[in-house]
Symmetry: C2
Subunit: 235 residues, 2 copies
DNA sequence: CGCCTTATTGAAACCCCTCAAATTCAGTGG
DNA sequence: CCACTGAATTTGAGGGGTTTCAATAAGGCG
């Protein structure tokens, strides 16, 4: 909490979760939160843990992954600042369905589940904001589900790169750098393919001048071309 | 509304969306709803329509589909009685991202978007209930996304059949009849494959005595066997 | 009966996965 | 500074699950 002392509302106000709440309200809400910082590559919680805390990411990136029964891992999504996560588990009182790992140095606000429920009853706008956030997420999963069901691998990889670029892209003069450590394996787990296929695809794109990729790093050189691949009608 | 006159709360009380609300509250909530019945195979709204109404299904089945850019259709899910739909669009003030079609004779409660938002502010429990519903749906899409990404077609078809059986199954002495018109194409659109593969798979299962399928109809004869396929570890 | 939709089945093509081996790269410690 | 090590990556060959295309069969309905 120390870090929030003084002007907590400055931290909260710009976050989607707190839209349309007065500074007074935010003060009370903030006073019930726990603030903490984490190093990179730290587990926040594991799939299967009892869900106790509602989390809002203030700074950094968090990766949400899921383990399949036979041990395969998939990456569900990367959480960006201002987004809430672990919403599902807290509301349903079920174990966390995902594992959360920090990608960066991360700054986090958390509330105990019951505290958050009481807050939502007192400030319905909080619940409505959460609804909007979840609604957007459903949208996203519907889209990805459709992609997965109807589209070829190359296209899905293109889409994944563009999505990452829009979330964590850093503009360079050469192109757009995706500013997190990103292995071929990571990309494979996001697109439901294998690291081999990802590697082959990136190699081809590198030959064509669409991207430049090093170890754990991808730079998009020709975004427009990638969009063409991502949207191409001729399958 | 006429049909709700007298005892509206009897209609609403068992619906998840209205949990933990008093009969008084339900009376007011019900008084702002519009009730309507629809025939089978009727469009409730189309993908792209301006979203104006929040819907709760009281009776029957509704199918939610999505059209891809290149004209392919996929079935996102079947809505069962007591479930809300079109939640996403109303909250985000965006066009409906899906098309809703009645499968059966359907009975529906709807609210105008702004009315529902005001209700949620007055009765936060409504928003919290919606959160639970959406949370469950995100769960489901995450699971299906993972299935789609990591599992073979046969398994996905088995899962789809089991899911349908639990939602709309009717117990016969021969087995479980899936009690809606269901073409091979429908199953293909639910599992992200082609009607040919579905047909081949069902033929094989029919030979093995797992299912019995006629035109637009499937009966599960050996549910346990299907579960084995759906859960089989050896990929 | 004729028509249209739904379903079946075969053959060929193909995308992608799997497995194996080699290569590059970053970090570590001698 | 450089060998050593383990991880990340690349690339090839082969196989298999699915799709695609085409043709035929079977059902329902006017």
């Amino acid at each position: 909490m120390a870090i929030l002392a003084g002007n907590p509302t400055h931290l909260l106000a710009p976050i989607g979760f707190f839209h349309q709440l007065s500074f007074q309200d935010l003060d009370e809400i903030a006073s019930t939160a726990t603030h903490r910082e984490y190093d990179k590559n730290t587990y926040l919680f594991h799939q299967g843990d009892q869900a106790r805390r509602f989390c809002v990411l203030v700074k950094g990136k968090v990766k949400l992954t899921q383990l399949t029964e036979d041990g395969q891992q998939i990456i569900l999504r990367y959480v960006s600042p201002g987004e809430a996560f672990a919403v599902v588990a807290v509301l349903s009182k079920i174990p966390y369905p995902v594992t959360a790992t920090t990608v960066n140095q991360v700054s986090l606000l958390t509330w105990e589940d019951q505290v958050m429920l009481d807050l939502m009853k007192k400030y319905p706008q909080l619940a409505i904001n959460s609804l909007r956030i979840l609604a957007g997420r459903i949208q996203e999963f519907q889209d990805r589900f459709r992609e997965q069901a109807t589209e070829r691998v190359e296209r899905r990889i293109a889409r994944a790169l563009l999505r990452l670029a829009s979330q964590t892209g850093r503009k360079l003069d050469r192109g757009i750098l995706i500013d997190i450590a990103l292995t071929r394996q990571d990309l494979a787990e996001m697109t439901g393919t294998t690291l081999y296929t990802v590697s082959r695809t990136l190699s081809q794109w590198e030959k064509d001048g669409l991207v430049s990729s090093q170890r754990e790093q991808v730079t998009i050189l020709a975004p427009h071309q990638l969009v063409v691949i991502a949207e191409d009608m001729s399958k």
